[in-house]
Every structure is written in structure tokens, then in C-alpha cells.
Symmetry: D2
């Protein structure tokens, strides 16, 4: 099977569509995926998506545990669906059992596994921040040495709307951060305009708590978060370099942003409210058209009619990014919403896998 | 008693402190207050504050009802505390039974009662928007004719931190809006700087649902608000003229702001995150000092140490406005939080009453 | 197509498996379903399930509106998925355009449409209470005359775990209530024991707010529900006769229950905590075994190990009913949880459709 | 001052009302209270109540810290109110600086401090479980040796509604648990009836999360609690012996209860829904009258009219216990609600202090 899988990738890269077709038709081909980090929220969400995926077989699960343990005792909500052991994190086991490995691990842990897996010829989809931004930027913002610069330069940033072609051939896919996904998608259609006019967008983001992961910290207790709102890391969040790097990449020129996140009392969802203030904007209808055109063929981005904003519940439990724009009193306001666990993490990872494997991009997603 | 009350006010205005003292000492003096609109959230909160106030007797309650009804059947949570009938809205009844009337009524309803009450010599504290901004501004933003321009020009805007002296002699006090309170307090110490540098602050506010009142609308149902976030009336909310009017008043020059509110899934509380971007800022320590100095003697404003932001739960169920400022990557960020029902409405109304009556400003408040 | 569909049903009823197989194989067969009442929460959830269903084509949508309106303007969260007009409720239009009609309408409205649709030979899946319980019981508890007693006696109660065989041949399927689903499934395995021992189970249920529908009532506002808990209709809720009727049906003898629901500050989910107190219980291991055996082959019921209780989040966004049982201090305690919009309404309706049409029972469901 | 305080207590015990009066009139008498455990929710709530109390001076604060630290840096929400250092837990410091010490410490920690403080002649109000129930019961249910059996037998259980006379003279007051408060108050008026009829009440309680304290455990994270409901320790919670002990004490005969708590997604509040099933109940009007009579003169218990149930929001942020009773289909149902941090902990502790000191029982409470 593993051989078949490699043949398939080879055929795709060489545009041997007849081989590809033959392989796809051969009924037995199911990609074997492994998921590392299944005790976290993104790991669990990956299982939900991949379990429904008709071309995928979840072959193994990994977590930071000492001994193998049956998955049902970790996550009873998957009983009668997933009947697998969860294994301790182990690169060799991953290499022996998976065609593609999803790493839903904390930052700095992913880079311990990537080199080995790539050497084994596996495809890796990394949901951590380890392979998103250049080494110097990473070390500055994440305050940790990067020990795998070789693969870092090879990694493909997995935001399909601006990088689909490169994703098709990716061996190491670096899945975008949640805030950056909502913000880059909210600004990509006008990135050139922003850089030309030297505008510095002001971004006020609000995120649900699942973005903080499942670690036991008093500040994320229900009693501390419920009925509350908290502004944190204002204009110094580690997602800033990622946002600026890929917006600049899309614009072909440097863009600087101001980004301040807030912790919302909701479980999932991100809203980014983006403010752009400049006298030289072309007509607002023009800008609306730029958004409509940019996302016309995108399966997972929806642009609202001019002046209408989406809400978090419009995209919760889906892989969509919904965007609305409005012009009022000289200010261009853009609202972009995603489900932080889906389009902001696991859903996008599956979308990337679909692109990498030549599957329908919407498979396994809602 | 009513006579005494007038004598008291007269003495205060004429600075006859000995008469005032004599009157205050006379044990029996308790101001009789009436509250109109007690079925709404602000009306109920007024009762909570005034019930605890040692100088006040709640003498009558009013609501938009047909026939008198016992208050306990409307609000069982005041049983064993308040044993009063609730009367239909009736200006004459108010005039006969109260020294001060709090109007917690919807916009456009207040102005039906104010002229009569003032003519009767009563003090009025109006929580609606009817007497906050000039007639033309009101009619433009509230889309309703203003039928009491005479008293509108006499009304005193009740934000103690910028208007305390005028409040002392107010007959008609116009209590500020919830968003404007959080925003004006967040910017007042640097209002001159803002106008001089021609900065247009960008304000991203987030409010709990009690600000929307108790009207039965599908968009405020629990199922529609919970786990959601909604940006509404972006840069076209009717509080904009109030914010600009009084910030400009404080600065002595015109100030323009950009203001976009969001509906949070919390019951009470407002956070305003304010962004100011300008190269000519003096040192951030200087700005912090301006805040510390401006609010040094204020009983209900607290400034955090530089770089620390307050959260909504820091002020929930209190009359405080907490403010934090931070400078990062060229951007000045100010976070201002209040409880929308207290400092943003009923608490501030009681603070204003305390100032008008010469009581300790903190009486009845926490 | 319609003809094909009838042939298919005929074949199934006559056990002509070869005809059935031939028809199924014929690639074009896709059942055309219509959904009436799509502005409510159950209507929307039906669309979510059926949109993902490989054997179904959503052919038409209906709501209580005056004129046709594009569905995207009602529910932007289905943009790029559903591109349909929503029509006013109209029995003839339903009859002309659908093979199966789902009625997600309020009680008493369904029975206006059912007679016509059945006469037209359509299958109807009714999510209201109109066809669940006998006429006299209905009129007593729902305080409304039942005008379609003829079809009422023909309707099949759609709780697959106790009625699967009858569901296969149903023309009019009456989908169970949300509370009854959680409770009947929680007690069915020991229903005989309950009736023999004359136990009257005490049931304390807690439901999310989506169960109350989208009607604008002040008591369901966020500000009234959040941070609150409310016990309502204690031991006099209209679901009592449904629970008793079908538990008795399953036991073959009369069972009386005590049922008190509470309104939880969550959007979706029901937990029923059930107390049974009787000295004559056989061993608890025996009872656990009765549950395990009863649900062994059920795709959507999961029994926890003895002493372990499920939580609402274990089943939210799924069609599962999870059940845990425990024995402590002489009391048998059963906890049963469902998502009220899925297993408690739309998910179960789709499960029933799958059974009626001979599809895989899990199709379209998670 | 300390001497004065002892004189005052002595005078009260000896019914020397003239001494008492003289002392009270002497303006300077203010009781010095210390609060140990101020980083927890109950500690903070004690500060809120005592800060407003006209007869009390908060003289010192203690927490499990290494070095003294200014309280404002722990709890900025008390800035401009409390200007005190917080000291490490230290019995001698408490003894030197306080007339009364409130211990808001975890179970097993309180008993390290009580013996010393009592020896020093201080009054102690202990909010932990350490002095509530007999030694054998404590050691069985709390699984920890009790090292202070001497004082345990002297401790007075501080539920004023059943124990007011003893509380007046208490030196060591043991403040009731939150669940027991809601349940004992819900059943006390009919405790004799319950014991006579051998009824075993079934109690389904639901509590907000602040009851679990501020410890960082993953199961209390917002993402794990929000939109969820969890039944835990069903019929084996450590509050069972406390409930049975004091209900039996009130009835004068043994009472057994069945008690199962649930964790609600709200910050504060407890609802206990209590089921009693017995044919021999006297008329329901009789029972309602028993409740009305029992609580007629109680300042903090309110009985609703027959058939009306209170909600959590009716008592949130107050010291009330609201109770409603209803009879339906042969079942007596009682709903009792409290704020777990006030009547369920800190508010009741202050109520007890008021009784112990001869103050108005409502002082400092709302």
C-alpha cells in the first residue's frame, strides 16, 4: 500500500494522469493517516474530520503517554466509531504505519519528529508553529532555538487561497495559525492596495477558548473566563510575524499590521475586526468586487454582500471563512470569522491533505 | 419634607453651609426618590443601589402598566426588601410623591415626562438619550423629533469626571450612555493631545447583552447570542455623536472617533479597546502620568500600572471604570472596562444624585 | 423519478430484493426530500444532515413566509452549499416536488398538511407532537382538538431502538420528542423490571435552549437564561404521556413516571438523571448486562462501563445517546444524554428515513 | 480594642445590656477581622461583604504565600478600597491582629490554625468542612485523620435558621457547606414529617463552578465546562453526612437522603430540586403553611407562593435562600436556590458573625 501511495504521488507530480486515474480507480487505495497529539482539541477535531473522509483510513493515534492505551478510554465520544489503541509518540511507529502524519503537537515538539518522517518519505502536515516562519523570526518570537532549519526552508505554508499550487507538491506542509488564517484571508484581496498606500491595518481579534488548548491553567478556568473578556499580548502576539510575512508575500511588498487578540467566553470561533483608514481608497464597490473576484472559486471562503457582517455562529462547526466589508465615515471595516479548530486548524489541515492527494478539496469537511 | 428638600438645595446653591449642615443633621431628612421604568434592567439596578443608600427612601415605582400591581409580583428577587406598589407611568403621581425622579425609560419616552416634573420643581435624572446631545444631532441620529428643546439646553451631562461642578447644581441631569462612559473616560486625560495631533481614535467596543434591554427580539435569544459574537452598527452607532461631543468639550476642540460595537455572550460589562496611532506621541511614561494625575482623586476610576490591562470581571457588579494603557510597535492601546448597568447606567445615576445632593459620592455604590 | 421511488418502496414491502437491488444500483436514484419549517432550529439541522447524505437530494424548502425568498438570505451559513428558493408552506407544492417530506413545524400545524401528503402517496416524517400519542391523550395534554384521528392511528413512532421493524414500513412517521428520547432510551432495557416492581422512576431532566425554538419570548433572552437555571412544568410537562405510553408499550404493562425538566444555559443537549429506588433490584452487574445486551447492535446508543456517567459534550453535534448507570446507597441512578437537535429531533428523523428507505442507518449522521 | 471586644462579648453572655449598649455607643468600637485564604473565591467574597460592613474593620489578610505582598497586586478589583498587605498564613500574626478570624482555607488546613486561635481567646469562623460533622464521619468521608477532636465537639454549626441560639455564644463557628445549606433549608420545615413517614428524599442538585474553587484542573477549564453538564459523585458526595446529620438533628430522628450533584456552566448559584414521594402527605396547603410559618421571621429565607419555583438569578449576588414547593401527580417537589458563594459560604459566615456579635443580622449583606 505504501508503495502504491508513493506511485500515486509520483504520478501526480509527473502529471501522469492515466496512472493516477488507474490508481484511484483501484478500489483498495485508502490513505493511511496517523495523528499525533490526539488528547488536544485539534487532535480530536482531526479525528472527527478524517473519520468521515471516504479516502482515508485512520491507521494510528499518538499522544504524550507512557504506555499504549485504548483510545476509547481517552475519548469516549468516539466509541463505536474508532476502535484503536493510542500509542506513545514514536517516530518509527509513525513511519511504519502511516502514509501521512498529522502532527497536532505543541510548538518545539513537532521539530523533533519531522526530520525522521521526511527521511522515511512520509508526508507530514504540521499544525504547530514550527515550520511557518523563517528561522530568525521564529527564534525571536517563539524564544526557542530552531533545530531543523533544513526542512524549515522546504516547508510549504498551507493557506490554500494564496498557496494552492505549492501545496499540491508539498512534502512538509506547515498549517497556518488560527488568527493568521482569519486575518490573511480578510486582507489578501487588497494586500497590494495596502502595501501601495502604506496602510497599517489595525486588527482587533476575539477568540474562543479552545485556541488555548487543554492545559490546566487557572486563568482558563470556567470561573475566570465566563462573563469575562480579556485583552492579551496586545500588539506583541507571536502570530504577528506570520501575518506580516504571508500578507507581504501575497502583496509582493512589505506590510505591517497591528494585532491585538482578546479571549472570548465561547468554546470555538474567531472574529477579526479589521480597520483600515486611508483617504485614497478607490470606491467601496470596487473593493467589494476585489473580494468577490478573489474568492469566486474558493470552496471555503464566502464573501457577504456589501455592508453585511458575518457572525461566529455562521461558521462554527464548519471549515468556512466568512468575510464582510463595510465603509463608514471614512473607515473601511472588514469582519472575518472562522472556527478556530476547523478552518483555523484541523479543517484546514484536512483541506491541505485533500489538495496534496488530489482529492476533492471538500472531502471530510462541512 | 418637600419644603425641606428645596431649602436644602437652595442652601447648597447659596453656599449657606450652616443651613445645609443643620438640615443634614436633622435626622429625619431622607430624600424621597421615584423610579420610572422598573421592569427594565437599569430600573432594577437603580432599586438595588438606592435600597442600600442610607440617605434615600424609595417612595414610588413606575412602569408601563395599566393598573397598579404589587412590586413583589414583578420582581420576586426584591421580596423582604421592597414592599411597594408599582404604579402606571404618571407625571402627577411622580410630582406628588418624589423629591427626585429617576427616568429609566426608553428614548423618546423620557421627554414626555421631563417638562412637567421640572415645572413642579423636581430634580430629574434621566437615563435615556433624550437630553444628552444637541437637538439637531439628536434628530439626525435618533431619527425622532425632539419636543423639549427648552429643557434640552438646560440639561447637565452627568459624567462626574469631566463635569462635576455643573452636576452639583443640576436640575435636569442627563446620564451618559454606556459606551460613551467607557470611551470618554478612556480618552479624557489625553483629549487635548488627540485634538492637537488630529488623531482619530479607533474604538472597538464589546458589550454584554443587558445593554440591549429586556425586549423580546429573536436576535437576543440565548440560542442566538451564546457561543457567538456579532459586530453591529459599525461606525454608525447612535452613541458616536455623544462620544465626539463630550470628548471635544473636554479637549476644547473638535475630535472625531471611529466606533464599532460588538455583542458579547456575557450578561453585563463593556470593554472598549482603543487604538491611537501617531508618531508624535510624547513618551509613554508621560502619558501614563497624564492618566494617573487626571484620575488621582476620582473615587470610581482606577488606572492600572503601565502595560497592564483590566478585564470585565474586575469591574462587574461595581461602579468602577478601570483603565489600562500600553504602547507597542508604535501603537498606543487603551483598554477601558465598566459594568454597563452600573458605571454605564444606574450606578453613575446614583453617583450623580450623590453629587447633586451633597452626599458622599460613594454612598449606595460598591 | 417519483414512480421509481414508489416502485422501490413497493419492492421493499414485498421483499422483492432483486427489484430493490436493481433500483438501488441504477445510479440515478436519489430521493427527493422537502423540508417544511426551515427557519427553526430543527429545520436547519435537518438541512445540515440531509445535505451530507449521499442518497438524498434536498429538492425544496418551506417556511411560514408570504412569498418565495432565496434561502441564502434566510440562512447565510448555507451559502455555497444550498442554492434553493424557500417557498411558502404549500401542500400541493410539496406533493409535486418531494418523495419524502419532513415537517419541522409547530404542534397543531403539522396536521394541516399530513392528510393531503399521505393521500398523494408521499412519505411524511413529522417532527411535531401531532402524531405521537393517542387522540384523547393529545387533546388532554396539548389542549387542542386533533383533526386527523384517521392518520393518527396509522402513524409509526420513530424510536428505532424499540420500533425498528414498524419503522421500515411507515408511511407516516412520528418522530419522538427530545425529552422522551433521552428517557425512554435510558429506561427501555429495564422497562419490564420497572413495571413488575411497580417502581415509579423520578426523572430530573436538563435541556439546552434550542429545544424551546426560535420564538422571541423575553424569558428566553440571553440575559434571562445565562448564569441561570429554571425548573419548569415540574411533573406536568406535555411529554409525560409520550414517555409513559411508549415505556409501557415496551414493558407490555403500565408504567408511571415523574418528570421535571430544567432550562440549562447551553445551546444544545439534554441530560436526564433518573432515580429508581427499590429493594428488590437484582444485582447491579445484572442490570448493567441488560443495558449492554439491549443496545449491543444499536448504531446510536452507547452504554458506559458500570459507574461511569456520560456528559452532554460527549454527544453534542452527534446522533448518539450515551447512557451510564450506577448503584449507590440503595439507589439506581441512570444518566442519559443526547443532543436535543440531533438524536432528540432531526438526527433521529434522518435515522428513521434511512430505515424507511433501506439505506445504511448511519448515512448523513455523525 | 481587644479588651473592649472581650468585654463586649462578656457583657452579651451575661445579658448586661447596659454595658453592651454603652460599648456599642462608644463610637470607636469596630471589630477587627482577619481573613485567611483570600486568593480563593470565598475569601474574596468575604472581603466584599466585610468591606461594606459598618461595624467591622478588615485588619489583616492571609494567603498561602511565602512573603508578604500588597493585596492590590493579587486582586486589583479591590484597588481604591482595600489598602493592605497580604501576609503568609501565620497563627500568631492572626492572634495579634484580629478579634475574629475567618478561615477560608481548604479542608484539613483549617484544623492547623483553630486550636491556637481559640487558645488565644479569638473567635473563629471556619468555612472549611473541618468542624462540621463528628470525627468518625469526617474521617470516613473526607479520608483524613481529624487532629483536633477537642474543638470539634465544641464547634457550633452555623445555619442560623436551625441553630441561632447556639450561634450567639459560639467561639468556634463551623460554617455550613453550600449544598447542605440549600438542602437543609429546603427540607427543615418538614423534617419531622419526613422522619415520621420514613421518606428518603431524592435530591438532584446543580451547582455553579465557583464551588469547585480556583484550582487549575483540566476538567474545570472553560472549554470543558461551557455548553456541558456533568453529574459527579452521585449519591456518594462528602456533603451527604452533613445533610443527614443536621436534618436528623432538626427532626429529632434519623433521616436518610439521596443526593446527586451536577456541575452547571454558570459561575455562581446552586439549585436543589428535591423529590418526596409518599401517599400519606397531609394537604399541600398544610405543607406550604409549614414553610411559611417556619421562615416567617427569617431575614434571609423567602418562600414563594404555592406552585411557584425560584430561579438561580433570583438569589445570585445575594444572601437569600429562595424556596418553592409544588405538588403534582402524587409527588412533592421542592426547589431551593442560593448563591453558593454567599448564603452557601461567605454571606452566611458574615450572617453568623452578625449573630455572634449582636449586630443587625443583615449588616454587610444584600
Amino acid at each position: 500500500m505504501c508503495l502504491l501511495f508513493r506511485l500515486y504521488f509520483l504520478a501526480r507530480r509527473m502529471h501522469l494522469s492515466w496512472v493516477k486515474s488507474a490508481l484511484v480507480l483501484w478500489r483498495n487505495i485508502m490513505i493511511k493517516v496517523g495523528i499525533a497529539g490526539i488528547t488536544g482539541y485539534t487532535g480530536e477535531e482531526l479525528i472527527r474530520c478524517l473519520y468521515q473522509h471516504p479516502k482515508v483510513k485512520i491507521s494510528s493515534l499518538y499522544a504524550r503517554i507512557e504506555k499504549p492505551i485504548h483510545f476509547s478510554s481517552i475519548a469516549p465520544r468516539f466509541n463505536k466509531k474508532i476502535d484503536l489503541m493510542c500509542e506513545p509518540l514514536n517516530a518509527e511507529h509513525m513511519g511504519d504505519n502511516c502514509d501521512i502524519v498529522f502532527l497536532a503537537l505543541p510548538h518545539t515538539v513537532s521539530m523533533e519528529f519531522v526530520p525522521f518522517l521526511l527521511k522515511k518519505g512520509k508526508r507530514v502536515i504540521d499544525l504547530s508553529a514550527d515550520y511557518r516562519i523563517p528561522k530568525d523570526s521564529y527564534e525571536l518570537w517563539y524564544k526557542h532555538e530552531h533545530t531543523d532549519s533544513e526542512n524549515l526552508t522546504q516547508a510549504v505554508y498551507g493557506l490554500p487561497e494564496i498557496n494552492r499550487e505549492k501545496i499540491k507538491g508539498a512534502k512538509l506542509l506547515s498549517n497556518p495559525g488560527c488568527y493568521p488564517t482569519s486575518i490573511i484571508l480578510g486582507l489578501a484581496p487588497i494586500s497590494k492596495l495596502i502595501s501601495q498606500c502604506l496602510i497599517e491595518p489595525i486588527i482587533d481579534s476575539k477568540s474562543g477558548t479552545s485556541g488555548a488548548g487543554k492545559k490546566a491553567e487557572a486563568s482558563f478556568l470556567f470561573t475566570e473566563v465566563d462573563e469575562n473578556l480579556r485583552c492579551y499580548k496586545a500588539n506583541e502576539h507571536q502570530h504577528i510575524p506570520e501575518i506580516e510575512h504571508f500578507l507581504s508575500y501575497e502583496a509582493g511588498a512589505n506590510i505591517k499590521v497591528h494585532f491585538s487578540p482578546h479571549l472570548l467566553p465561547v468554546r470555538r470561533g474567531i472574529m477579526s475586526t479589521i480597520y483600515l483608514n486611508h483617504e485614497s481608497f478607490s470606491s467601496i464597490e470596487n473593493i467589494q468586487k476585489m473580494y468577490n473576484d478573489f474568492y469566486k472559486n474558493e470552496p471555503f471562503v464566502r464573501v457577504r454582500p456589501l455592508g453585511k457582517f458575518p457572525e461566529i455562529l455562521d461558521v462554527a462547526e464548519t471549515n468556512y471563512c466568512d468575510i464582510g466589508i463595510k465603509f463608514a465615515r471614512g473607515m473601511l471595516i472588514i469582519v472575518s470569522v472562522i472556527d478556530n479548530l476547523l478552518k483555523g486548524a484541523s479543517g484546514q489541515a484536512v483541506q491541505n491533505m485533500n489538495i496534496m492527494c488530489g482529492f476533492d478539496e471538500k472531502e471530510g469537511l462541512f
